[in-house]
């Protein structure tokens, strides 16, 4: 949580979908990628809890590989869900910046 008390967009399922948007990754690669682009270190329990829910909802799926380091890829419904969520966030971001006078657009 940021010092101001406002929450960052660090929802594990969202971060996983963003990470998988550019190609399949296994658990460790996902954790490292998310730490790199979002600065969020997901523990193994949180990461696999989110992976389980996303697989159940058909938003990601296993992409072959061996049983121990099985990569996952985003599905077409997952891509659509991610696009929708990011569009919503962009709308909130634009509105907030505009009202603060920080966004020239």
């Amino acid at each position: 949580m940021a010092p101001s008390g406002l929450r960052r967009p660090n929802d594990p399922p969202l971060l996983i979908l963003v990470s998988l948007a550019d190609g399949p990754k296994h658990g460790y690669a996902l954790a490292k990628d998310i730490e790199d682009f979002a600065g969020v270190r997901l523990g193994p329990g949180a990461l696999y809890g989110a992976i389980t829910r996303l697989v159940e909802r058909g938003l990601i799926e296993p992409a072959g590989g061996d049983d121990r380091r099985r990569p996952y890829r985003i599905t077409p419904p997952g891509s659509a869900a991610l696009a929708g969520a990011l569009a919503d966030m962009r709308q909130v971001t634009r509105t907030g910046l505009s009202r603060l006078g920080l966004d020239p657009a």
Binding site: Y28, A46, T52, R57, G58, E61, D67, R68, A80, A81
Partner: protein, 301 residues
């Protein structure tokens, strides 16, 4: 504590599916070192959350099954309990049109329900034939045998009641313990037969490989069939009210009808949207909710 022992916090089914991957992730993370307390806490929390999630899901599914079973029993009981046994009683002339209309509606609703069930069977028929050709019969044989047995028992009971009605007067019937027990036993056999056929159909549907169109048609067909089946109750109550000149039954019947009128458009709308989502998901155009995935004939991943 060794990393492998941390997995014991997770449910067995989850461990079987994801355990190897999680262990590999833990080993990659600690890189030959010992797991930190933070990592252990994350795994323990994840395991407990998974156990709670599975318990809640199992509880919800069980509650749905129980509530659906009770609802069907109540509906069956209402129908059986409200059946006018003395059909030959003379009708009050002023109520005759109500009885005729309600009886016509009742017959129409029963026929429409039968047509819906038949349509559902026809939609699934190609998949069912393919299932049988792939030697699927042994997978459902026991359930079908139980359902057929209950149907035979119910049929025997109905035949016995029919013979009893023909051989005894109304006064004799109302004082006959054997007839009363026969009515209860036949009612139970009818409910059991319905439940067992539903169970056999559900078990069969899980093995069928339905096409996209058939799966998309299912929600609407199910909603229409359920609505038609539930419409039998108010039609029956209004008919009963007409032939008995009972204001109370008329009020209950009309209230049932009004409730059905409120619920039906929403249920049909949901079914249409669910069918659209299934078609769209099959073509990869949009998201699909977990509820939309839970259609008969498909197992979840």
């Amino acid at each position: 504590m060794r990393p492998a022992r941390l997995l014991r916090w997770y449910p067995p089914a989850w461990r079987e599916r994801y355990g190897g991957e999680l262990l590999a992730l833990i080993q990659d993370t600690v890189d030959e070192g010992r797991p930190t307390w933070r990592l252990r806490l994350s795994v323990v929390r994840g395991g407990l959350r998974e156990r709670v999630h599975q318990a809640v899901r199992a509880g919800t599914a069980a509650a749905k099954r129980v509530s659906t079973g009770w609802l069907m029993t109540v509906v069956a009981g209402l129908i059986l309990g409200s059946l006018p046994w003395n059909i030959k009683a003379p009708l009050p002339p002023a109520r005759a049109w109500q009885a005729t209309a309600a009886l016509g509606a009742l017959a129409g609703v029963v026929a429409f329900t039968g047509v819906c069930v038949l349509a559902g069977g026809l939609v699934a028929a190609p998949a069912f034939i393919a299932f049988l050709r792939e030697r699927g019969w042994p997978k459902i044989r026991r359930r079908v045998a139980w359902a057929a047995g209950a149907t035979v028992a119910a049929g025997g009971g109905l035949a016995g009641l029919f013979l009893g009605q023909r051989s005894m007067s109304s006064a004799q019937l109302s004082h006959s313990w054997a007839y009363g027990i026969g009515v209860v036993a036949t009612s139970l056999a009818l409910v059991a037969a319905l439940g067992l056929w539903a169970s056999a159909a559900t078990a069969t549907a899980k093995h069928l490989k339905l096409g996209t169109r058939a799966r998309a048609a299912q929600p609407l067909l199910a909603a229409v069939t359920l609505t038609a089946a539930f419409a039998i109750v108010p039609a029956n109550l209004i008919w009963l009210a007409a032939i008995q000149s009972s204001l109370a039954w008329l009020v209950v019947g009309v209230a049932n009808l009004a409730l059905l009128g409120v619920v039906t458009p929403r249920r049909i709308g949901q079914a249409v949207r669910q069918g659209r989502r299934l078609r769209a998901a099959a073509s990869g155009r949009t998201t699909i909710s977990p509820s939309a995935q839970r259609t008969p004939g498909r197992r979840r991943a």
